[in-house]
Amino acid sequence: MTRIEMTVDGARVSDDVEPRMLLVHYLREKLGKTGTLVGCDTSNCGACTVHLDGHSVKSCNVLAVQAAGHEVTTIEGLAQGGDLHPVQEAFHDCHALQCGYCTPGMIMQSVDLLNDNPHPTEEEVRLGLEGNLCRCTGYHNIVKAVLQAAGGASS
C-alpha cells in the first residue's frame, strides 16, 4: 500500500492504495466518483477521460500513484457553482447524448479540445474526439455540440 494525496474536483483527498490501482478505479471505488466510467480494457473508448492538471487523460491509463500531488477534475467537478459548463449545455441542447455512457469522457475531452483550440473546424473536432467512442449518436450531434460550444464561447 502506498499513501497518496491529491485534489479531486476541488477537494483534498488522501488514501492508501495498491501501487497497481488505476486512477479510474481509485476515483470510482475509493472516492465514489462513479460519474467517471469504464468502457474497455485497452484505452480505446475514452469513457474514463478526466483532466489531470487541466489536460485530458484516460484515467484507465494512469496509475493512482502517478496522480499523487496533482489536481484531477472529473465530470462531477466540471459545473461550477450550479452552472453547467458551456460544453455540458451544448451537449444537452444539441442532443449529443443518448445512453450517456460515453458522455462524461466525451465532454471532458471536448473541453480539453476547446481549451487547446477555441475555434476548431468540424474536421479538427472530429480528429480531436477520435479517442472517444460513442455507439449511440453517430457523432453527428456531438460534433455539432462542440462547434456550438466553441461559437458560444467566442461570442
Binding site: T34, C40, E76, Q98, P104, R126, L129, G131, L133
Partner: protein, 824 residues
C-alpha cells in the same frame, strides 16, 4: 370557475431537450456497476480458451487459498440450482436446441464459455484468483464455418448428431399469398432476366458502450437483481421459470443502461450465475464484465450466407424472388436465436409487388459465440439482400437503380397493400420520400459528375448508392407471435397516476436504455391530459414499480408502449368525467375535455383535470358510490406491425489505386409517420446510420482457425470514431400509421436497416466500370483494391460456381469463405 388559462402548446412535434440529460452530463448516473451494497462480494469468471473441449479436471485449491476469496465454484458445484439459459422462440417444432447451462461441467462449446467462478471481497482479488484456477481440457474438433457446418462432418454438439438446428420455410404458393417462384424462375430463364447472387452477412458485435453488469441482493423478502439489460420484465419471468424462485419473490431493476442495440436482449449465463451465487452465499454479489469478455461472450449478431434469385421480365418487372439462408446460431440457441432470420423472412419483398416468393432458412450450430438480435434483427439482412439485388437488376438492364425500384414498388394509392409475404402494409408513400431525397441529395448533378469522372478515367471514382427500404416494427401482435411459436406476447402496459398536487406519474413497461422515452412519453401524456411537460414523471425499468411489461426492442417502445400510454390517458379522462360533471353540477352528457380542462358545453364553467385529481385525493365531494381514484392503466396489444420506410442516398469516392473509400454525402428521408420529437428522431437516425455504415465498411468479428476471437478488444473490433464519419443530411416525410392512434411508426432501427446496402451499392457503383459486381463486407481498402486489380485472386470474385452456368452469373459474386477476415 371560468376557462381563462391558455391551453399549453401542443407538445407532440416539439424538439424538446431531454429530461434525462441533466444527470447524465453531470455524472450523477446509476449504471449497474456504480451500485455498492453493504457486504457486497465480487465475481470473476474463468473462461475456456478452447472453442470445443472436454473439461477433464478443475483444480480450484490455489484460487481458494488466494487472499479474500470466499469461494470458487464450478458447474458441478452449482448443479441444477443454477437454472438454465432459455430459447424463447423455437422456430420449428423439431428444432434442435442444446441444453445451455450457465456453467457446463463436462464440455465447453465456444471460446469464452464459463467453466468456474471466483467469489471474493473485491473485483481485483477475484480476478487475481481466477488466474490461479487450473483447468485441464481435452480439445475436441471445432466447427467454425457455416458452409462446413451444413455438411455435418464436424459437430458443434456431438450428442445432437447434427449441426442443423431448424429449417424454416415460407412459400407464397403454399401460403396462398402469391405464385410459384420456380415457375417464375423457369420463365425468366427462357425469356426474361435472372439474377443470382450470394451475399455474406458478416458476424458483428453489438458493442454497447456500457459493459454488462449485474448485482443481486438476496437479503430482502424479494430477491433483487439490478442488471444492464433491455428486458427486466422478461428476465424476471425467466428467472422464475428456470431457477425455482416464485415470480412474486423476484424484483428486477434495469437502472441506467448504457446502450443495448439488441445486445442486452438476453438471459445470460452471467446473470444466472450471479443469481445462483447470491442465493448461495446470502450476500449481495456483483459481476461486471471486462470489454474483452463482452466482445467474446455477449451475443453477436448477423452471420449468414444469403443466396438469392430474382426473376424478372425484360422490362424490369420482377416476377419472383427466392431466398435461401444459412444462419449461424453459434454454440447455443439464444433467447430469440433462430427467430432473428425468421423476422427477416417477411421483409425480403420489401416495398415491392413481387408476385411469387420463396424463403428458406437453415439455422446451424457452430463452436462460436451465440448470435441473437442486433439492431434491426433480420430486417437489415433482408434489406441488404434485396436492395443489392435491385441494383444488380438495374445494372443488368442498364437502367437507373431508382427506375427499376419505381417499376416494382407499391404506389401510394395502392395502400393498404397485402404483400407476397402475407403482411398488410397500412400506409406509405415511396414516391414522395424518394423525390424529396433526390432533391436534397442533388441526385442528377451527382450522376452527371459520375459520368464525367468515368469518362475522364479519374483515379478517384464516384459511386452513388440507393436504398429504398421498409421494415416491420412494433413487435408485435400477440396472435402473430403465437402463430410463429414465440414464447410470449407482444402487448405493452402503461399506468397513469394522477397525484394530489396535480403532478402526474406515468409507469411504463418499456425499458429505455438511451432512447429518451422519459422525454417523448412526457410529451404524449402532456398533450393527452393537458398538463405541463415538466409535471410528468416517467417511471420504468423496475418490476416493483412497473409490474407488467415486455420491455424495449424491435422499435416497439413508442408504437406499442406509447399507444398503451395514450389509451391509459383516455381512461383517466373517462374516469374523471362523471366526477367533473358532479363538481360542476352539470350533466355528464354536456362535459367536454380540451386542453386539460373539463367544461360544460355552452357555458363558461370548467375545471382542470388536475383539480379533479385533488378532489379525488380529499374524497370530500364525489358522486355517490364513486371510487376515489381517476388513475388508470391500459394494456395494449398491437393489431399490426407498422412499416416505416425511406429513401437513402449515398455518394462515396473510391480511390482506385489504394482502395480507400471516402464518404462524401449521405442523405435520407425517412417516413416514420407522426414525429413526437424531431430531435430524438434525428438522434436515432444518425446513430442507426453509423451502425449500418459500420457493417458496410469497418466492422467484423473474426475468429482464427482455432476458434479464438481475433477481434477480442476495441483495438481489433473497429468501431467507427468521429474521425471516420461525416455529418448527415436527414429529413422526414410523414404518412400517418393507421393502426395506432398516435399515427407513429418505429424509428430505432431504420437507419441501420437502410444504410448498409446504400453504402455497398455506392461502392459497387463506383467500381462498375471495372466489371465489379460485389465487394464483401466490410468493404476494406484491401478488398476494394483486389476487386479492381486482382480479380484472379479469388477474393472479390470467388471461383466456385454456386449457380448454373446458363445464367451467366457464376463467378461474379464474392464467394470467399466465412473464415477469411479483413486484413488477412
Amino acid at each position: 370557475m371560468t376557462v381563462t388559462e391558455k391551453a399549453p402548446d401542443q407538445e407532440i412535434g416539439q424538439a424538446r431537450r431531454r429530461k434525462e440529460d441533466q444527470r447524465l452530463i453531470t455524472g450523477r448516473t446509476r449504471y449497474t456497476d456504480n451500485i455498492v451494497l453493504p457486504g457486497m462480494l465480487h465475481l470473476a469468471m474463468v473462461r475456456s480458451p478452447y472453442a470445443h473441449a472436454r473439461i477433464t479436471s478443475i483444480d480450484t485449491d490455489a484460487a481458494k487459498a488466494s487472499p479474500n476469496v470466499i469461494d470458487v465454484l464450478t458447474g458441478a458445484d452449482l448443479g441444477e440450482g443454477q437454472g438454465v439459459c432459455i430459447n424463447a422462440w423455437p422456430i420449428t417444432p423439431d428444432q434442435k436446441t442444446p441444453v445451455h447451462l450457465p456453467i457446463p461441467s463436462d464440455r465447453v462449446a465456444f471460446a469464452g464459455e464459463i467453466v468456474a467462478v471466483v467469489v471474493a471481497r473485491s473485483a481485483a482479488e477475484a480476478r487475481d484468483a481466477a488466474e490461479l484456477v487450473d483447468v485441464d481440457y481435452e480439445e475436441l474438433p471445432a466447427i467454425l464455418d457455416l458452409k462446413e457446418a451444413v455438411k455435418d462432418e464436424v459437430l458443434a454438439h456431438p450428442d445432437l448428431g447434427t449441426n442443423k438446428s431448424a429449417l424454416w420455410v415460407f412459400d407464397s404458393a403454399a401460403a396462398g399469398t402469391g405464385g410459384d417462384v420456380e415457375e417464375a424462375i423457369s420463365k425468366a430463364r427462357q425469356d426474361g432476366v435472372l439474377i443470382e447472387r450470394e451475399f455474406r452477412q458478416q458476424r458483428l458485435i453489438p458493442a454497447f458502450m456500457e459493459p454488462r453488469s449485474v448485482v443481486v441482493d438476496p437479503t430482502g423478502e424479494q430477491l433483487t437483481m439490478w442488471s444492464a439489460t433491455q428486458i427486466p420484465h422478461i428476465l424476471r419471468f425467466a428467472l422464475a421459470a428456470t431457477t425455482g424462485v416464485p415470480e412474486s419473490k423476484i424484483r428486477v431493476i434495469a437502472p441506467d443502461v448504457g446502450g443495448g442495440f439488441g445486445g442486452k436482449l438476453q438471459a445470460t449465463p452471467e446473470e444466472w450465475i450471479t443469481w445462483a451465487i447470491a442465493r448461495r452465499v446470502g450476500k449481495p454479489v456483483k459481476y461486471t464484465e471486462t470489454r474483452s469478455e463482452s466482445l467474446m461472450a455477449a451475443h453477436h449478431g448477423r452471420d449468414q450466407w444469403q443466396k438469392l434469385t430474382v426473376a424478372a421480365r425484360k422490362d424490369g418487372t420482377v416476377t419472383g424472388l427466392k431466398v435461401e439462408l444459412l444462419a449461424n446460431l453459434g454454440a447455443y440457441v439464444a433467447i430469440v436465436g433462430g427467430g432473428v432470420p425468421v423476422l427477416g423472412a417477411f421483409m425480403y419483398n420489401a416495398i415491392y409487388k413481387f408476385p411469387a416468393y420463396h424463403f428458406s432458412c437453415q439455422t446451424l450450430l457452430t463452436n462460436e459465440a451465440w448470435t441473437d438480435a442486433y439492431r434491426g434483427a433480420g430486417r437489415p439482412e433482408a434489406t441488404f439482400a434485396i436492395e443489392r439485388m435491385m441494383d444488380e437488376l438495374a445494372d443488368e438492364l442498364g437502367v437507373d437503380p431508382l427506375e427499376v425500384r419505381e417499376k416494382n414498388w407499391i404506389r401510394h394509392e395502392e395502400f393498404p397493400f397485402t404483400t407476397v409475404a402475407g403482411l398488410e402494409y397500412d400506409s406509405g408513400n415511396y414516391e414522395a420520400a424518394t423525390a424529396k431525397a433526390k432533391e436534397h441529395f442533388g441526385y442528377d448533378d451527382l450522376r452527371a459528375e459520375q459520368r464525367r469522372r468515368r469518362e475522364a478515367k479519374d483515379r478517384v471514382q464516384l459511386g452513388i448508392g440507393v436504398s429504398t427500404f421498409t421494415e416491420m416494427c412494433g413487435l408485435a401482435p400477440s396472435r402473430v407471435l403465437g402463430s410463429l411459436d414465440y414464447g410470449a406476447g407482444g402487448w405493452e402496459h402503461a399506468e397513469i397516476r394522477m397525484l394530489a398536487t396535480g403532478k402526474v406519474e406515468v409507469v411504463t413497461g418499456i425499458s429505455p436504455h438511451g432512447q429518451g422515452h422519459e422525454t417523448s412519453f412526457s410529451q404524449i401524456v402532456a398533450d393527452r391530459l393537458g398538463v405541463p411537460f415538466e409535471d410528468v414523471e416517467i417511471l420504468h425499468g423496475d418490476t416493483a414499480v412497473s409490474h407488467k411489461g415486455l420491455d424495449t426492442y424491435g422499435s416497439r417502445s413508442l408504437v406499442v408502449g406509447g399507444e398503451a400510454l395514450a389509451r391509459a390517458t383516455d381512461k383517466v379522462i373517462e374516469r374523471a368525467k362523471p366526477i367533473a360533471a358532479h363538481l360542476l353540477e352539470a350533466s355528464i352528457d354536456d362535459m367536454e375535455f380540451t386542453g386539460g380542462r373539463f367544461s360544460v358545453r355552452g357555458t363558461d364553467k370548467g375545471m382542470a383535470l388536475t383539480e379533479i385529481a385533488t378532489a379525488v385525493f380529499t374524497g370530500h365531494n364525489l358522486p355517490d358510490g364513486a371510487e376515489p381514484s381517476i388513475d388508470a392503466e391500459a394494456t395494449y396489444d398491437p393489431v399490426n406491425f407498422n412499416f416505416p420506410h425511406g429513401t437513402h442516398l449515398c455518394a462515396v469516392e473510391v480511390d482506385t489505386e489504394t482502395g480507400e473509400i471516402t464518404m462524401r454525402k449521405y442523405t435520407c428521408v425517412d417516413d416514420i409517420g407522426t414525429v413526437i420529437n424531431p430531435l430524438l428522431v434525428e438522434g436515432q437516425v444518425h446513430g442507426g446510420l453509423v451502425q449500418g455504415i459500420a457493417q458496410a465498411l469497418w466492422e467484423e468479428a473474426v475468429y482464427n482457425d482455432q476458434g479464438t476471437l481475433v477481434t477480442g478488444s476495441f483495438v481489433d473490433y473497429t468501431l467507427p470514431t468521429a474521425a471516420d464519419t461525416i455529418s448527415f443530411d436527414t429529413d422526414t416525410d410523414s404518412t400517418a400509421c393507421t393502426t395506432n392512434s398516435l399515427g407513429a411508426k418505429g424509428v430505432g432501427e431504420a437507419g441501420t436497416i437502410a444504410s448498409t446496402p446504400c453504402v455497398v451499392n455506392a461502392v459497387v457503383d463506383a467500381l462498375r466500370p471495372f466489371g465489379v459486381h460485389d465487394v464483401r463486407m466490410p468493404c476494406t481498402p484491401e478488398r476494394v483494391w483486389k476487386a479492381i486489380h486482382d480479380r484472379d485472386q479469388d477474393v472479390a470474385s470467388g471461383a466456385v460456381p454456386h449457380f448454373g452456368a446458363d445464367t451467366g452469373m457464376e463467378g461474379v459474386a464474392d464467394r470467399s469463405t466465412g473464415a477469411e477476415g479483413a486484413g488477412q
